[in-house]
């Protein structure tokens, strides 16, 4: 075997680049810059509006956490090279199923929740199976599920109850062991104490008089953090993560190298459905009702968060942490615009401009730092 020249020779063809700059070349970079920018902006413009008091922070945290939950699923699926446009409908459908099972049929809450999970994850698997078997683009397949699931979410309660909202879930969830996992709060003691020492404002009247305005961290946020951590570890630290990248990067090549591409894709569809169901369950348990309009357009919001977070729409590249930052940016911007008192019909205009700005910035920063042409 020919001995090659010593390793240091190869360095002559690389411009020296500082360690710091090297460390910056991560898919999350755009997300990090965006987050800093967004917070700076709102700290300057909306600091007086209550956006950064306890209740304000909780408000945008909860909204961001919501985005995060669906963004994690969408992110892994997108990296695996597929889309799911049925996420929004799935949220509506899952909530409605829980409501019908628990309120109309009177099943115990935990059974209702578990059956809804099973149904939705199975639907996700079906989406994936159809995509994989027929070779159709997931855009089309899940567009069909979008219509079908939304249609069922309208039709079923309409037929059963003659209305499109089913309430009374909070009552049905009382005393259940599973419901608090989605609708409860943690660290209530700590916040109680914060309220007592005056760190957090307290209610001024009503039954809760004297209690802190924020009395704990909703499980929604806990779920978001857990899912982000899980997704991140799965993607970067495991064999399966490598398969996800490979399936999205080039399915044919991955298959030829022995990656079970079909299995990977179907599992990612199932995970996306799982995330959507977590979202829906948290929502119905918290609000106590399920409606036919829940989750509208959430699929786009998930995709937007993921793309702001630096993933490629075409698959094979991206990061869960980036997607989480994208969700944070999206949540903060959305609620921040309200705090900043932007005219509501201009809200979408701003949203569009910020979206565009975020992705352009993202690409641009990446180019500057990596020095692509």
């Amino acid at each position: 075997m020919t001995e090659t020249p010593a390793l240091h020779q190869s360095d002559e063809r690389i411009k020296s680049r500082s360690r710091f700059r090297e460390a910056l070349i991560v898919p999350e970079l755009g997300g990090i810059c965006g987050t800093i920018l967004v917070f700076t902006f709102f700290l300057l413009t909306a600091h007086e509006s209550g956006m950064f008091n306890a209740a304000g922070v909780l408000n945008w945290s909860v909204v961001s956490a919501q985005f995060m939950i669906i963004a994690v699923g969408a992110c892994l699926l997108m990296i695996a090279g597929e889309f799911d446009l049925s996420v929004g409908s799935m949220i509506g459908f899952a909530g409605m199923m829980i409501a019908i099972f628990s309120v109309n049929m009177g099943w115990p809450m935990w059974i209702a929740i578990l059956v809804a999970f099973a149904l939705c994850v199975a639907t996700g698997a079906l989406n994936g199976w159809i995509c994989v078997k027929t070779g159709l683009p997931s855009f089309i397949v899940t567009l069909a599920s979008l219509f079908i699931l939304r249609g069922l979410t309208i039709f079923l309660p309409q037929t059963l109850e003659n209305k499109t909202i089913i309430g009374g879930i909070r009552e049905a969830a009382e005393g259940d062991w599973l419901a608090p996992v989605f609708g409860g709060k943690v660290l209530t003691g700590l916040f109680q104490w914060f309220g007592e020492i005056g760190l957090i404002a307290t209610f001024e009247r009503g039954v809760n008089k004297g209690m802190p305005v924020v009395d704990g961290i909703p499980m929604l946020i806990v779920w978001a953090l857990v899912l982000v951590a899980f997704g991140h570890v799965l993607l970067t630290k495991t064999r399966f993560g490598n398969w996800i990248f490979a399936s999205g990067g080039d399915a044919e090549s991955a298959r030829n190298s022995g990656v079970p591409v079909n299995r990977v894709k179907i599992m990612m569809f199932m995970f996306t459905a799982f995330c959507a169901t977590v979202f829906a369950t948290c929502q119905v348990i918290e609000f106590g009702s399920a409606g036919a309009d829940r989750g509208l357009l959430k699929e786009f919001e998930a995709i937007i968060a993921v793309v702001i977070g630096g993933a490629l729409l075409t698959g094979g590249y991206g990061s869960v942490l980036g997607a989480a930052l994208g969700a944070l940016i999206f949540g903060v911007v959305q609620q921040g615009l309200f705090f900043a008192g932007v005219e509501s019909s201009l809200f979408r205009v701003f949203l569009g401009i910020i979206l565009l700005f975020a992705v352009v910035l993202n690409t641009y920063i990446r180019r500057i730092i990596t020095g692509e042409k």
């Binding site: 509006s49 209550g50 956006m51 008091n53 209740a55 304000g56 909780l58 408000n59 945008w60 909860v62 909204v63 939304r150 309208i154 003659n162 209305k163 499109t164 909202i165 309430g167 009374g168 879930i169 909070r170 404002a201 209610f203 001024e204 009247r205 009503g206 039954v207 809760n208 008089k209 305005v213 929502q283 609000f287 106590g288 009702s289 409606g291 036919a292 309009d293 829940r294 989750g295 509208l296 357009l297 609620q335 309200f338 705090f339 008192g341 005219e343 509501s344 019909s345 809200f347 979408r348 949203l351």
Partner: protein, 289 residues
């Protein structure tokens, strides 16, 4: 002087009817010298609306005016706002009882179901036996209540007579035509707003049933007023959204400044607008009516 109020609605961005509400708060705000901000969930998702109420409360306004589109979802956020010392008035959707339960000062509006019921009874009196309800916002639960009330008032099953029409005018028009062609015994039509009413008028004009079929609608608009004048539409139910927005602003300001409050809830509708006395309605349809 300079109080700040927030009005939160449940309507998606594109719902054109809410425009009158915006005009109401604008005028009310100008006259009283207060600022009123309008907020809504862009897609009409009521769970998102709950977050907006939370957000509004966190920004510490002097008062919140909100609809009660889904009592289950909204009662908690509203009650929390009330408990933080913010005055709340419920407008548009909901019922006086629900408003009391969440601790709101009062209710200004037209309970959707009751309005539908009243319309249905009126139509029954006019001899309608089977009807078509054109629903352009099937996903929005509050609007559907009108159909439900109408069916009960009429004393018939709602069944398949509610048409999920979408919002595209050509599609609405052709769906109505298709429905009427497939169900020739239909003798009454109810539309739920200008979005569904305008193309339905066009449809009836096209198939020659304009003026022949009993036709009522919710909410007013230019085309609707014109159609009432022409006799194509028998009546339009005006719930006077302008008042629903204007009055709470005035009431909240006066309550904040002088502590005065009306002793009862205000029903802004249903008011039946017919051929008689259309002049003012015509002038301000879609703007203040």
């Amino acid at each position: 002087e300079g109080e700040r109020y927030v009005l939160v609605s449940h309507a998606p961005d594109s719902d054109s009817w809410w425009n009158t509400v915006k005009n109401g708060i604008k005028l009310g705000g100008e006259q009283m010298g207060v600022t009123v901000e309008y907020r809504n969930p862009p897609t009409g998702d009521i769970a998102d609306m709950a977050r907006i109420i939370d957000q509004a409360a966190a920004s510490k306004p002097d008062g919140i005016i909100t609809t009660l589109a889904d009592f289950d979802v909204l009662k908690e956020p509203i009650r929390k706002a009330v408990d933080q010392g913010i005055d709340v008035i419920i407008m548009n959707t909901g019922t006086p009882e629900q408003a009391r339960e969440v601790g709101a000062l009062m209710y200004v509006g037209q309970p959707e179901y009751d309005a539908g019921l009243a319309a249905g009874m009126r139509a029954k009196g006019d001899g309608v036996t089977s009807f078509l309800c054109v629903n352009h916002a099937i996903q929005q639960p509050t609007v559907g209540e009108r159909c439900r009330g109408f069916a009960v008032g009429l004393g018939v099953e709602l069944g398949g007579s509610m048409l999920d029409s979408g919002t595209d005018p050509a599609e609405i028009k052709n769906k109505v035509l298709a429905y009427l062609s497939a169900n020739p015994d239909t003798n009454g039509i109810l539309t739920l707003g200008p979005v569904s009413a305008d193309p339905t008028i066009a449809a009836l004009k096209e198939n020659g049933m304009a003026g022949q079929i009993y036709f009522g609608t919710f909410d007013l608009g230019e085309e609707i007023v014109k159609a009432i004048k022409e006799g194509v539409i028998q009546w339009g139910i005006d719930q006077q959204p302008f008042l629903q927005a204007y009055l709470p602003v005035v009431i909240l300001t006066n309550y904040d400044r002088y502590g005065v409050l009306p002793g009862n809830n205000i029903n802004s509708g249903p008011g039946f607008v017919t051929k008689d006395g259309l002049e003012k309605v015509e002038k301000f349809a879609g703007e203040y009516r």
